[in-house]
Symmetry: C2
Subunit: 224 residues, 2 copies
């Protein structure tokens, strides 16, 4: 398979007009922004209201009515993991050249989204939607235990390495964005090596540019 | 990137010695078996007890102590999604040749695992572990509503098509295995096009071979 060395088309991504996270960079457009910044690719952003996300024009792009989407010429993608992989496959900087190392980096992309994110996202959902349920505290305990188990296993694997497998990769990019959801929840503090790992991700210039870009959207929406 | 046309190494995957699903083919080795059968690749299986899965020899292969793993020469992978993608990238039959169609098929792989599977797996977990909780019925209702929302959206996208996007792909393979968890739960019956979609997956000769292979393990364990 061959790709054009310099894709001519500026991609357009979608993001929340008013992110429910208050500009903390936890919405899933952040992953795509970060990936595009890492590879030095310019992009346009189309902002969507919650209402517009559920309308037919957007559902034609994203069957689950979410953000982000990624449009590049005739190509329309959804799912932040797939979009990050698409970017990583077509530009240097997010996947190793060696075929085996590349397969391992992709394994960490799936581990971030399939193994780590579900219980962590459950915690977000529980705090948002289940706070008034009579069983909220018990449920919170169950979810936190599941997260601790995964954090312990991940911490054991990371050890004192800088990144999950050699150089920084798209696997680290997704893992850091998933772990960032735990910031302030106290859970991450129990694993100093994971806290340091997340901080290394946040310290990357590309992360900072992406973070500032999504924060600017939130700031503009707040003053409008 | 180039790969050998005929990889010389027979890969080894891991699977449950005694699958907790009673041979229903819901354990995640099924996805990998099915993918290998679709591309006509032979494989070896190493069976693991629940105890062995948490021991250091296996944790060195799989940091989260689960199945399946995939070993091929020096390469060790975990995460069923990553393994299926690895197989699909190296053999014809699971991803389209056209670059855009290929990116869309990979999008459906992530959609299966990141969007559809989490609430569906939550239902499995709730039924297994939360049945005796005083809040079980309420929680079940919440989880089922989340699943129905996703099934409705997926059903709307699938329409009367045979597969998610053109020819059968690794995206369909993962989506069918995720939806199969709902068999017998009544939820899928409300979407005749999704029931038919799942049945089309189950009717594939490669699916049947993979299913029979995992069932044979369960049957052998039951009589031992």
């Amino acid at each position: 398979m061959t790709y054009a060395a310099n894709p001519p088309m500026t991609p357009t991504i979608t993001a929340f007009e008013r992110s429910p996270d208050g500009g903390k960079g936890l919405a899933r457009d952040m992953r795509v922004r970060w990936a595009l910044e890492e590879v030095g690719r310019a992009y346009d952003v189309r902002l969507l209201s919650f209402k517009a996300m559920k309308e037919s024009a957007h559902l034609a792009l994203h069957p689950f009515g979410q953000i982000p989407t990624y449009e590049e010429g005739d190509l329309v993608l959804f799912e932040s993991g797939a979009i990050v992989l698409h970017i990583a496959e077509r530009h240097a900087g997010l996947l190793p050249d060696d075929a085996n190392a590349r397969a391992r980096a992709i394994t960490w992309m799936f581990a971030a989204l399939s193994t780590m994110e579900p219980p962590i996202f459950d915690l977000t959902i529980a705090r948002l939607l289940e706070r008034d349920e009579p069983w909220y505290e018990q449920r919170l305990h169950v979810v936190e235990e599941r997260i601790r188990k995964r954090l312990g296993e991940l911490s054991g694997r990371v050890g004192d390495a800088d990144w999950l497998d050699g150089e920084f990769s798209a696997g680290d990019l997704l893992m850091v964005t998933v772990l960032l959801r735990l910031k302030g929840a106290g859970l991450l503090d129990q694993y100093p090596n994971l806290s340091a790992y997340v901080a290394r991700g946040e310290a990357r210039p590309a992360y900072k540019r992406a973070f500032d870009a999504q924060l600017a959207v939130f700031a503009a929406a707040s003053t409008s």
